[in-house]
Amino acid sequence: MDGLNEILSLVFNATLVRSTIRAATPILYATLACVLTQQANILNIGIEGIMIFAAFAAVTTSYFAGSWVLGLLAAIITGVVVAAFMAFAHLKAKADIFVVGMGVNMLAIAMTRFLLQRTFGVSGSFHHNDIVPMPRLNFDFGGNALLDTLFNDYSLFEPVGIVLVFVLAFILYKTVWGLRLRSVGLNPLAAETAGINVTFRKFEVMLYSGVLGGIAGAHLSLGYSRMFVENMTNGRGFMGVAAMFFGGANPFWGWIGCLIFGFADSLGSRLQSLGLPSQFILMIPYVVTVVVLTLAMMRKKRAETARKSAI
């Protein structure tokens, strides 16, 4: 009995909260990017690729320019450019967004691998002391261990992400802009007859999702870690899409979805340290993705049967 208690207290303690938030943040930015586009009825599956491009741009710029701010800026610009390309292909050339997104994802992996070779002459990963990371936030709690673990040493964009959840929710549900955006996604004809330019709106939110995707990538390579690794998103963009679905394109619920992923991830690494087989641990995020998506679909289905044949 004592042994079990010990294991439990090793696994579940205050640092678990921290590591959950830590693991959830890169996914959260991807989720928010997808929430925005989904509100305009665009499934931004290419967010994975945007993040990879952005992560590479951030590391490269930070390394050469010696500034994380410039790195972040480069990542955002990269994200916007890629998103603009996707928006153009989808809205102007009428290509299927899913195909465009998958194309971007594959291109991102291949192209960053190539550029990694060309720029730094390495393959696999690149880390260097000259990469300037994002700052960490530290407060003085007078040595209180619990407060220290809970509230200290966050990377800048971890708390910012949480604030963004609230900001985005406010924008979507309380502002004129948000109302119009949602109408574009829910009933484009209604929006059009209200004099709203539907295509323009869609283009606009794709660009904003590029900004968020850029931040996601920069945070991944300069905040969450301090390096670039091939395919370093490792499905986090897709998990962002899954969390968005889980939340039905609502920022709060999407955030909850991200926390579930983050929790599964950090729980996994603890179990690994206890000696569980690593193959099993590596499987956890994907199993959780499937479960979360199933839950989301069940919710949606139930909502739909409840309201059939209204008008």
């Binding site: 109302l179 829910l186 209604a190 209200a194 008008i311």
Partner: protein
């Protein structure tokens, strides 16, 4: 009369393969109610969508208040005081009534929506014209009649002085339609000008100052409302004499083909919307089910067709109990079903006409063999139906979403009637359909009956019930309040039963 607000001349609008409007002509004077009538597919909606800026015409000019434009955008149209209530409502179901009304024209304080200001303005219009709505309900929770009032407030809110209503009464109960006319009259008194599109000639005659008739995309005539008559309008619309009304045709009755025994069925909000409904239909007869919409007719049809759970009681079809079977199995037991909502249940709007027509017979020879579809046969089959039901435009490859309302309905009717099933369940089969097609569809129902089918006709149109049914059952609040033989029925008697007065006859 007074000043001319709108003058559309020489309008041409083509869709791939269809000349929807050719040399279209329309004018509107200040303070008048001007009706626009014509067969399904005559181009009424298209002409008005050109006015509202949703379509850009290839040719023609639109003059609004003296200013001439080659085409408009919705934004410009709204700016010029034009508002349109579309045939298919343009509402966001997931949003509240208030949000729908203010969309695009939100009063704001900072970037935020100023709810109080919005509510005040909505209440002003609601009070002035008697448009009762619930601002905080979601659109998916309100009735069709209310949704329409929301659409009207929406246009007024945007500052419309010119209102275009595209078939507003097609989805309303007679009572709701009467309310709508009061609203329209009070708007006219308030100085608004109204374009009213409808297939119901009595309504048109009752409310219009002028009437414009279109046929095949062309302007046929514009007449004064006071100097014309229903037969004349019908002739102008269809181009020939039309005969509606009449009484049920006699036919030999056979055995009971469908019987519903004491069924209880849940509704959307109530636990049992249907409470103990029983009736039976014989081969070779039409049983009409009358009633004010919303008294359980929709649920009854869905329960018989297997689209809604039956909690208690039995549905016997061709000797077998079929309640709660999947819809497909029930069809195999001999049911054909014309659903009341063609857009949601009757058609797949994204498939083409031949696929929609063949949907019920495609799994059997000759349209397929061993699971492989024989497209040549499907096309032949579809073209046959298109010809005999006069579906326009006559193309098997047109996507169903491009059909006008009435022609879409004809596709559904053609598919269901042509199966020659033992029982034909027809829900509102002529809703939103022009009189020429109403004549066709009613003839088809009679022909099915003569061929020995048992027909259940659910309709909120009393005239339709009276002219087709051998027997009439009336529904009120989930029960059948009376059953009368057609020889003893008249509008008065049915009207009494429909409002719950006079229990069993």
């Amino acid at each position: 009369m007074s000043r001319i607000l709108i003058e559309m001349k020489g309008i041409c609008k083509e869709f791939p393969g269809v000349k929807a409007v050719q040399d279209g002509l329309f004018s509107l004077e200040e303070g008048e109610i001007h009706s626009l009538i014509g067969e399904n597919g005559a181009g009424k909606s298209t002409l008005m969508k050109v006015l509202y800026g949703m379509y850009v015409p290839e040719e023609g000019s639109i003059a609004v208040k003296g200013e001439t434009y080659p085409s408009l955008t919705p934004k410009q149209a709204i700016g010029l005081g034009i508002g349109m209530v579309h045939q298919e409502f343009m509402l966001v179901r997931e949003m509240t009534v208030l949000e729908n009304i203010i969309l695009g024209f939100e009063p704001r304080r900072g970037g935020r929506i100023d709810r109080r200001a919005a509510l005040e303005k909505i209440e002003y219009y609601a009070d002035t014209y008697g448009l009762r709505v619930h601002p905080d309900k979601k659109v998916e929770e309100i009735s069709v009649g209310e949704a329409q009032r929301v659409e009207i407030i929406k246009t007024l809110y945007r500052g419309a002085e010119i209102l275009v209503l595209d078939e507003p009464t097609a989805v309303l109960t007679p009572q709701e339609a009467e309310q709508l006319f009061c609203i329209l009259r009070s708007m006219k008194e308030g100085g608004k000008s109204i374009v009213f599109i409808s297939h119901k000639l009595q309504e048109v005659l009752a409310i219009s100052d002028r009437i414009t008739v279109m046929r095949g995309g062309k302007h046929i005539a514009t007449v004064a409302g006071s100097s014309t008559s229903a037969p004349e309008l019908a002739r102008l619309m269809v181009g020939r004499e039309v005969f509606l009304g009449g009484s049920p045709v006699p036919a030999a009755k056979g055995d009971v083909a469908l019987s519903v025994e004491n069924i209880f069925v849940p509704g959307e909000k109530e636990l049992s919307k249907l409470r103990g409904v029983s009736f039976s239909v014989r081969k070779g007869e039409i049983l009409g089910i009358a009633g004010v919409n919303g008294n359980g007719q929709s649920e009854l049809a869905e329960a018989i067709a297997g689209l809604r759970q039956v909690q208690r009681g039995r549905v016997v079809l061709g000797g077998a109990e079929v309640q709660n079977m999947p819809p497909r199995r029930i069809r195999e037991h001999g049911l054909s079903h014309i659903p009341e909502d063609r857009n949601q249940r009757g058609l797949d709007r994204f498939s083409d006409v031949k696929e929609n027509l063949a949907a019920c017979s495609v799994s059997e020879p000759p349209l397929s063999s061993l699971g492989v579809i024989r497209w040549g046969k499907v096309r032949e089959f579809a073209e046959g139906l298109i010809r005999s039901y006069d579906i326009r435009p006559a193309g098997a490859d047109i996507e169903a979403s491009g059909l006008s309302g009435g022609n879409a309905q004809k596709v559904v009717v053609a598919r269901e009637v042509s199966r020659k099933a033992e029982v034909l369940l027809a829900s509102q089969p002529t809703r939103g359909v022009d009189i020429g097609s109403i004549e066709t569809i009613r003839n088809e129902l009679n022909r099915a009956k003569e061929a020995g089918a048992a027909v259940v006709l659910i309709s909120s149109d009393l005239e339709e019930i009276l002219s087709l049914s051998d027997r009439i059952a009336v529904m009120f609040e989930g029960r059948i309040t009376g059953e009368v033989d057609s020889s003893e029925a008249d509008e008065e008697k049915l009207g009494l039963l429909m409002t719950g007065g006079g229990t069993h006859v």
